[in-house]
């Protein structure tokens, strides 16, 4: 900071220190009155309501405009909504007034199993998941998984009903600490980890998973609107 700037800043600070005192002398009393009235009011007030409470000679509209200018750079602004006036915290500070609380949630067993099947067998449709699991997917299981942000609808199967195909995404990889999807262990590794016991039928296989976003031959691309069905994961900061 140049010394000239510094000097200027000092002057400003000096001015600020006496600001309060200055205001007493120069600030019209009606600004105080309107300030207090609007602050204490439980609802926006129109100029007529304000005028009724203020001394007769006050130009309410002018005073409000002046207050509005005064408060414009502040954390609280004076807004003119409809024909009424109201103090509101500044729009750009909305973030300050929301409290994000993180709610840790554990996936249900069904959701966990569905997720695992999507990961290994992607791209996979709801019907195919049901076929592998041997049970009808509880409604909402896929929705919950979409909410986790770990899976995504990636296309539509070229088959009657053109069902959505699901796959995993990058958030999935980073949550589970995988560099690529092919880091998911294969059958031998799973067996080695004791996750499968010996009694598997011959021919039992675990697919080599891939999350290559390129559509397969039996997939059609998503159509516009497919992501608006409330099925899409909420994009952070969307609101």
């Amino acid at each position: 900071m140049s010394s000239a700037n510094l000097a200027e800043k000092n002057v400003v600070m000096l001015e600020e220190q006496t600001e309060g005192e200055q205001e007493i002398n120069t600030r019209p009393e009606e600004l105080r009155l309107i300030e207090a009235l609007l602050f204490a009011a439980g609802e926006p007030l129109d100029e007529k309501a304000l005028a009724k409470r203020l001394p007769q000679d006050v130009d309410v509209r002018a005073a409000l405009r002046k207050l509005q200018t005064e408060y414009a750079p502040r954390g609280v602004n004076l807004l003119h909504v409809g024909n009424k006036w109201v103090f509101r915290t500044a729009n750009d500070l909305a973030w300050l007034l929301t409290h994000e609380s993180v709610q840790p949630k554990k996936l249900s067993r069904a959701a966990m199993e569905t997720l695992a099947i999507i990961a290994y067998h992607q791209p996979v449709t709801r019907a195919e998941i049901e076929d592998i699991r041997g049970v009808t997917a509880a409604k909402g299981t896929i929705d919950v998984l979409l909410e986790t942000g770990w899976i995504r609808p990636r296309g539509r199967r070229k088959a009657p009903g053109r069902p959505l195909t699901y796959g995993s995404n990058e958030t999935f990889l980073s949550h589970f600490g995988l560099e690529t999807l092919s880091d998911l262990p294969g059958l031998d590794e799973l067996k080695g980890a004791g996750l499968f016991d010996g009694a598997l039928p011959s021919g039992f296989d675990v697919p080599m998973p891939s999350d290559d976003p390129t559509l397969r031959d039996d997939e059609d691309p998503l159509e516009p609107g497919d992501l608006d069905l409330g099925l899409a994961p909420r994009v952070e900061g969307e609101e």
């Binding site: 207090a36 609802e43 997720l115 009694a199």
Partner: protein, 280 residues
């Protein structure tokens, strides 16, 4: 300091029984101490320099008048009267140097202090309530904007959860599918239809199991498919649609459509009676 040190036999029952009891909290006074304080104020002197003797006299006189008017006084007032009468007598008598208890002067001073303390708290109370009060003189924001709570779920699962879920799920299904396949037998009708379609594709001798393997996806189906097709084949041969050939026991079985039967479709020929048996 307590009035209990005195035996007090108030003759309040003097009042005629038939007169209605008018119980008065001696109007306008908040108890005997308040009454005393008011009387003291009338002396218009500093409470620190007040004559407790004179005050006691005034109080007793007040009580006497109230009783003459047949006002029934609250017990608090009478207890105080009794105590003051006692104090008065002590104050008037030359102080005997007693080994125990307070001197009359101490008792008077203590009463004066009580009065000062009551007065002080009264003044303080008055000043407190003269202060600007919330909701009367000053106001909070009329329309607060409460802080919005956004609950963001954070899902967590471990890789172990994921893998064990997968293995558990696949294993469960693999085992149950095997059981399911065992029950899934190839019926004779199915075998017959399949064989007829198969054999229709070629006039040459062909190995039965080659045809079958082309059909079989699930290893578990092999026995039932073999059994059913063999039975169906024998039936088809008996009906004259096909010919079988086997070199030896357990050797591959060769199969072909009966040449003279070409184009006859699946329908039973009229001359089915002279169909040759299977060769070996």
């Amino acid at each position: 300091m307590s009035a209990e040190i005195l035996q007090f036999n108030a003759d309040t029952k003097e009042r005629a029984e038939d007169e209605p009891a008018l119980i008065v909290d001696v109007e306008g006074f908040e108890g005997p101490l308040d009454l005393l304080l008011t009387l003291a104020r009338d002396q218009k002197v500093d409470l620190a320099k007040i004559s407790i003797l004179a005050l006691a006299n005034q109080y007793l006189q007040f009580i006497e008048e109230a009783r003459k008017m047949r006002l029934e006084l609250a017990a608090d007032y009478l207890v105080m009267a009794a105590w003051l009468a006692y104090l008065k007598s002590r104050l008037l008598l030359p102080e005997a140097p007693g080994p125990e208890g307070q001197s009359a002067a101490d008792m008077a001073a203590a009463l004066a202090l009580r009065l000062r303390r009551l007065e002080a708290i009264r003044i303080a109370s008055g000043q407190l309530f003269e202060r600007p009060q919330l909701g009367r003189d000053m106001f909070d924001r009329g329309a607060p904007e409460p802080i919005e709570e956004i609950r963001r779920p954070e899902w967590s699962a471990t890789l172990y959860d994921l893998l064990s879920s997968y293995a558990r799920e696949r294993q469960k299904q693999a085992l149950s599918r095997v059981r399911f396949a065992k029950r899934n037998v190839w019926t004779l009708a199915e075998a017959r239809e399949a064989l007829q379609r198969l054999v229709g594709a070629s006039d040459d001798w062909a190995r039965l199991d080659e045809y079958l393997i082309a059909y079989l996806v699930v290893p578990a189906m092999v026995p039932t498919v073999l059994a059913s097709s063999l039975a169906a084949m024998l039936e088809l041969v008996r009906e004259g649609h096909m010919e079988l050939h086997q070199h030896a026991a357990f050797a591959p079985i060769y199969l072909r459509k009966r040449p003279d039967f070409a184009g006859a479709g699946g329908t039973e020929p009229a001359d089915g009676g002279h169909a040759p048996g299977a060769t070996h």
